[in-house]
Amino acid sequence: MAEHLLELRNVSQVYRSGDREFLALKDVSLTLDEGEFLVLLGPSGCGKSTLLRIATGLQRPTSGEVLYRGEPLKGVNPKATIVFQTFALFPWLTVLENVEVALAARGVPPEERRRRALEILDRVGLDGFEGAYPRELSGGMRQKVGFARAMVVEPELLCLDEPFSALDVLSAAALRGELLELWLSGKIPTKAILMVTHNIEEAVLLGDRIVVMEKNPGRIVTEVRVSLPHPRNANDPSFRALVDEVYAMLAGETQPEAVELGSAPGEPGKLRALPNISVASMAGLLEALAATPGGRQDLYKLADELGVDSDHLLRTVEALELLGFVTVAKGDVALTPLGETFAEAGILARKEIFAARLRRLPIFRWLLELLEAAEGRRLRGEVVRRALELEFPPPEAEKQFQVIVNWGRYAELFAYDDSTGVLYLEPVPTSA
């Protein structure tokens, strides 16, 4: 059997914070062969970008092996380049210089540098903009520079780190098409493409193979082979079916309550991470569902209707699932009677329903008990943060704290003074 272009064997990434350890990637193995367009798909926080950095040698995994053409990778892979989500162009260099610098670093002589840079800029449709600075360009054109820079050095492995997610919908669609054209026509010497995305449709549109990842800890759950011929049509029934299937994998199924809710800090079992979603997003989704006949809809259709990206939609659904407003099965999301009530309720009634649901979540139950028992019914936010830090790595713990505060404030379960960092129970209003 021919050796793989890229192979990851049992890669794990552990982050340490104090004496706590957090598993960012758990035992990930994957292969990439010549001629393949592989997509890593997963929710934010599943470690897919970390995995890309490990695959290119930018980051060394805690354990496990990275093989390139059968050889263990030492340092940054010279045969790989990355197109970055945020473009990562040097703002002080012109378009041409941005591309040329990649060649200069590989020892290409000046005349050849200029020739090759102009050629690739021409190919991505940027001729006429050689002398422009990145700030003069639109997002789509900046990313074209990003592609040109990555391709000019003729890498064998082209890595794409959510390259379209910072672009507007139209630019993204156009750029995707152009990338496919370059790749399929064989005009670039690239042997394989590894792309990271959280956008399900994008993954199905571009990839030959989709590796689906999950978070907490980041791991591979399954793999989907896409054998639809190019060009793929997003409205084609078989395309839709595949998107629906992937949605179902990522959304999972609503679990029994005890599993969904997790446990409180200090109790045995795992604390459930709250999705970082605003109450407004949840309400919006519930209203949209309530307007659908039967209160039930395919997830991918919902994403189309609402024009939100799949990652945001899935996280919103996860939040609603957690609160018991919807259930998910086989890629469909359905309103529960409670969710229906919420959608129809007025401002104050919504707050009451929301509060009642939050009280059932172990983390809120724990927090409210703590507040009740605290002197003056006040608690420094630090206490909660520290409890969260036992369960989550610090940046995630901070995010969780913010979500708790946002949800709790909306439900009027407690108040939070940002300047002093104190959580407190509002005095019980005496009946008027």
């Binding site: 990355i82 670093a105 003069e136």
Partner: protein
């Protein structure tokens, strides 16, 4: 408008750590070693005559500028290397940064005997004095530059760092395309500050007496000092005019063009308004000389460096870069032992100072601290309203700004004798006059930052304040003060450092043949230097370092953190 960002204090963990102690001891031992070396300097030195004829001024100005330039090149080189090391090191926060922190709070006059005497002890006198002067100017230029470079290095966005790694930009390439461009604007602003700092201490650096040794170098600084010493006001005026002319010239021919050129290094991804323009830059860009300089000299040099860095990289790729654990322990052991020995000697030296001498030191420290506080308060009192007034009015800002910048770079030290002449007759004498003198060394930092802060207040907030019909007081309380707070803290940190350093020249003034001094730590240091009483100098210097660093840690950093967390306008 450029916001003058001076160094940002490192992330405050604990106010004082073990690393701080080590750093403090290292610096103390270094100063002690210099003082010991100084004992071997020639006992009697008579410097050359300084001519007070205005005809000598162009030559003197030229010499001083050369000295400043040499010191600046040295500062830049030091900053680049030190900042690089610190940014790469795991020990940055516990060793490299505290060391800078302490170094920048060592009063310049305390470097003086160390530098001059130590250098003249083993070098020919003329060369030794020349190098010492350059070294002294260096100590007034280097630290802020180093902080700026370090800060830039560690704030390079992750994405750009990763892009550089994946596109294999290393050594020279990375410096040229990533690090220098990213730091350019900060480096230029801080270079301007460094030059201002250099001018401020030029007089002290070019002429001084240590015991029976009278060191002097022909230059603008010594000209001014000699004129002040002899009370020759005409010569003093000539010297001042020359100095101001020189500063304006440099501003127009060097700094403005550099700033205009550096516009391209702004990180914003949107076109910004209010660009710096420079007539000289426009002239240069069109000139044949400039373009041929680029083609013939800089371009090929760039190519050469690039080729060199690629060759070096090819070699460097295979080498392993791990130092063995044993080596580390041996190295640490040797350094630790040397440090312990040094500390023991320094302590013995310190103990040779009679206990009674410590009382004036503490009294002086108290007096100087009061003056610093007073100077800061007075600065804030006039600069905040003026800064807000100017900052809120873009049209006024566009012409006041350059004027203020030039005013700020005129070294107040040159004006001291004149000021003192007028002030000593006031009640309080030098005791109060010193406060005003310290003011001249500190107020500008607060003013600049107040203007920058006021200009950064978003237009919509200003509209809202007007729509709500807030009274003047309410507007200050609700909008201006909170918006200005982070800027004021930044300004005050630098201003306080400046005031402490200025105390040495402010509390001890020589004019018209007489020496005026008042109670203060600065006066003690200046006096001890002049008399060559080293144990006292050593003790007073350590006291000042301890005080300044303690105030930085206990007060300014906390305020800074509050400013970062609570009052940041996002």
């Amino acid at each position: 408008m450029p916001v003058i960002k001076l160094f940002r204090p490192a992330r405050p963990h604990r106010p004082v750590g073990l690393g701080d102690l080590v750093v403090f001891l290292v610096v103390a031992v270094l100063i002690y070693a210099g003082v010991r070396l100084a004992f071997r300097a020639p006992a009697y030195v008579q410097g050359p005559e300084i001519s007070l004829s205005p005809a000598a001024l162009p030559w003197y100005a030229f010499l001083s500028t050369l000295r400043m330039l040499a010191a600046y090149v040295l500062s830049l080189a030091f900053s680049l290397v030190y900042g690089y090391k610190a940014a790469r090191s795991r020990y940055a926060e516990i060793f490299f940064l505290p060391l800078l922190d302490v170094l920048q709070s060592v009063p310049i006059l305390s470097f003086l005997p160390v530098a001059v005497l130590a250098l003249t002890a083993f070098l020919p006198e003329r060369l030794g004095v020349e190098l010492a002067a350059i070294f002294l100017i260096f100590t007034s230029q280097a630290w802020n530059l180093t902080f700026a470079w370090y800060q830039s290095l560690i704030t390079i966005p992750q994405e750009l760092r990763e892009a550089s790694a994946i596109f294999r930009l290393r050594s020279y390439l990375r410096l040229r395309f990533l690090e220098l461009p990213f730091a350019a604007i900060q480096l230029i602003w801080n270079s301007m500050m460094s030059w201002a700092g250099g001018w401020f201490f030029l007089m002290a650096s070019e002429m001084f007496t240590v015991g029976a040794r009278d060191y002097r170098l022909p230059g603008l600084g010594s000209y001014l000092q000699e004129a002040a010493y002899l009370g020759d006001t005409r010569a003093l005026a000539w010297g001042l005019v020359t100095l101001i002319f020189l500063i304006v010239l440099l501003d127009q021919l060097v700094w403005r063009p550099l700033l205009a050129w550096a516009e391209r290094f702004k990180l914003e991804m949107v076109e910004s308004e209010g660009k710096t323009s420079s007539w000289f830059y426009k002239v240069l860009r069109g000139s044949v000389l400039w373009s041929s300089l680029w083609q013939r000299v800089l371009g090929p040099l760039d190519q050469r460096l690039l080729a060199w860095s690629l060759r070096k990289k090819a070699l460097g790729e295979t080498e392993g870069k791990r130092r063995s654990r044993l080596q580390f322990y041996v190295l640490t052991g040797i350094l630790g032992g040397a440090l312990a020995l040094g500390v023991a000697w320094a302590a013995r030296f310190l103990l040779s100072l009679p206990a009674s001498q410590w009382i004036p030191i503490f009294e002086g420290a108290g007096a100087t601290m009061l003056r610093v506080i007073l100077a800061l308060l007075l600065s804030a009192l006039w600069t905040i309203p003026v800064g807000v007034l100017v900052g809120l009015n873009p049209r006024a800002a566009s012409w006041i700004q350059p004027v203020v910048q030039i005013a700020a770079s005129i070294p107040a030290t040159a004006l001291f004798p004149v000021l003192v002449m007028g002030l000593v007759h006031l009640p309080g004498g030098l005791n109060l006059a010193a406060v005003l003198l310290m003011l001249t060394g500190s107020q500008w930092y607060i003013l600049f930052n107040a203007i920058a802060g006021a200009r950064a207040i978003p237009q919509d907030l200003k509209y809202t304040a007007r729509l709500m019909g807030l009274s003047r007081w309410q507007r200050w309380k609700i909008l201006y003060f909170p918006a200005l707070f982070p800027y004021l803290v930044t300004g005050a940190i630098t201003a306080s450092g400046g005031a402490w350093n200025a105390s040495i020249v402010a509390e001890y003034v020589t004019f018209g043949g007489q020496t005026l001094y008042t109670v203060g730590l600065g006066a003690i240091i200046a006096q001890a230097t002049e008399r060559g009483y080293y144990p006292l100098l050593f003790a007073a210097t350590l006291t000042m370092i301890t005080l300044v660093v303690a105030i930085n840690r206990l007060l300014w950093r906390r305020l800074y953190r509050v400013a970062e967390e609570r009052f940041k306008l996002e």
